[in-house]
Symmetry: C2
Subunit: 387 residues, 2 copies
Amino acid sequence: MTTRIIRHIGELITNDPNMGDGTKVGRITDAALVVDDARVLWSGPDRNAPAADEMIDVGGAAVIPGFVDPHTHVIFAGERSDEFEARMAGVAYDGGGIARTVAATRAANIGDLREQSSARVDDLRTGGVTTVEIKSGYELTVAGELRLLALARELGDEVTFLGAHVVPEEFRHDRDGYVALVAGPMLEACASRATWADVFCDQGAFSVDEARHILSSARQLGLGLRLHANQLADIGAIALAVEMDCASVDHCTHVRDHDVERLASSLTVVTLLPGAEFSTRSPYPSARRFLDAGACVALATDCNPGTSYVTSMAFVVALAVREMGMSVDEALWASTRGGATALRRDDIGHLSVGARADFAVLDAPRAAHLAYRPGSSLVASTYRARR
Amino acid sequence: MTTRIIRHIGELITNDPNMGDGTKVGRITDAALVVDDARVLWSGPDRNAPAADEMIDVGGAAVIPGFVDPHTHVIFAGERSDEFEARMAGVAYDGGGIARTVAATRAANIGDLREQSSARVDDLRTGGVTTVEIKSGYELTVAGELRLLALARELGDEVTFLGAHVVPEEFRHDRDGYVALVAGPMLEACASRATWADVFCDQGAFSVDEARHILSSARQLGLGLRLHANQLADIGAIALAVEMDCASVDHCTHVRDHDVERLASSLTVVTLLPGAEFSTRSPYPSARRFLDAGACVALATDCNPGTSYVTSMAFVVALAVREMGMSVDEALWASTRGGATALRRDDIGHLSVGARADFAVLDAPRAAHLAYRPGSSLVASTYRARR
């Protein structure tokens, strides 16, 4: 296999604390990185660089592990900018919310759906994302969710079944019937097409008991678990996520001290989605509170048409630093290795020897520019290992 | 001259209230736009589109007037991301502030300075900016400021002399001597190379009396006036800007009711720079307060290496909507026609017949996506009229 060396890296973020400056992000200045088509073979000071078949000189640019985006809803049709405008103006108009996207997605033919969705995945990739999780959840029928999962597998890296996104219109008067459908036939049909199951467990969505029932079925079918929890209100969803050993509990805007303690002593990652708070003008959760307690924090775009139409992880990093009390290094780690941990992956999100050769070259000498120069992508090129 | 028609525009923002929906942004849906190399010839419903030599079909995309960025400091050498990180972490370290950039800029040869600065202007242009104001202010010697003004003319559209940015190190013990230099020999040497003069009038910068003295000299030399005012504290700078009939008073973070009243009954535009509040974690001024009083509001990037390394007007629009209480239409107007007004230009910032053919085609069906999809540029292509 061809080997390739990336030379004259101004700052290499390895996320390996045994490398470089010994911090959690394992920073090496004046570095080089050697990869083959699949894996990292070597990294270290540029002056010690070994030979390789090909050489790329990045002229002092920073290199980071590829972003891992562990929470997206990128497969959908239509858009809801009118809802956004109304919300920003303080006008009571929701235009239909998730149900509107469900209607548009159901009505879209597969070609249109693929075209619109893959454009969003391309935006993420151009912005440095090398691993993207994609959820279903905008069809809410057995056949429809299967169609979305197939597209998620085609376009993304990790596939999550989210039949429990909302109760669809046709089950408005039979909520229990929909929960039974999701936990039964829908999950049975979908389980082999996904790695993960997720539930929107919140006020106005699914209750803790409903979520427990659905997640239990999913676990029996071999799926890993994740949870949307306490974005809108504290309904006890974080405790459920820990109880069920979810890989990730996402949003966590409304959180109590005992939730933080539970998370800190669990393997459940807290995935924060500041694009949602930005786009809904909601208070940001404090990442500091989780970090100071010792919980593991990840960052994600939450890309969706209602509450966070965000396709830039650099923007998420900038928001995490500006609004959530994270240091630049903490946000860098959370957007790469944190996301990997939220997907229970240890082959991505870092650049130790043997890791996947997934990385991004920045148009900047230091990775801190991702937050220092907000609103620009700053990713010059994204390298994804052969899959 | 060749004529060109842009067809199948999903939403055309003309900023001409006599066009389309009759709002301030003059929105026409299903529109077409006809231009030649220099000017707008026609706009209206696509079904009424006249013939032209060339046709561009934008397939339902939105088209807006090119952004006008009336406040940048894009010509500088070096970077100060370490200061940014320290500030975000709450650590007392300023690394030298503006003086550090002055030292780096003085030390840079013209080739390096041009390369670094033009990359930033390219970023602005790619993001839809068709008119950019550029200030000097990072050399603070007669020869140095002349060098920066020449580069500003080469790279930008409107050139502003900002010798009164800070008192340079070598005048630390002779503040009055520096003010006399700026108001005298420096302005005399620089006046023919600039259209505007600006002063950083704030706590720790120049006083109201010093600013009045410098601006008076500039006016006598035929320059238009602008002012950095009350970013850090209320020192009465807004009243000075109105007194001197400045075209624009910029920042206005600390503002009293009588300042708002003065502005509303003046021709002085309030230019807001939310990238600075984002990057310094400072409270945002309320655009609503100015708008509700009837003052004219513009938006700008304030691109500079210390407090707002921002090169995306789309990001500025998104911040103005999220953080400053502006509606999407108000932010659109402020970032286009507002900026033009802050530069006392009526040939740009709108797409009435006879206006310059400066416009941007978005990768979105509605201009509201600029705020709805924060962190992405969304500008598919920028068209600048022949100069």
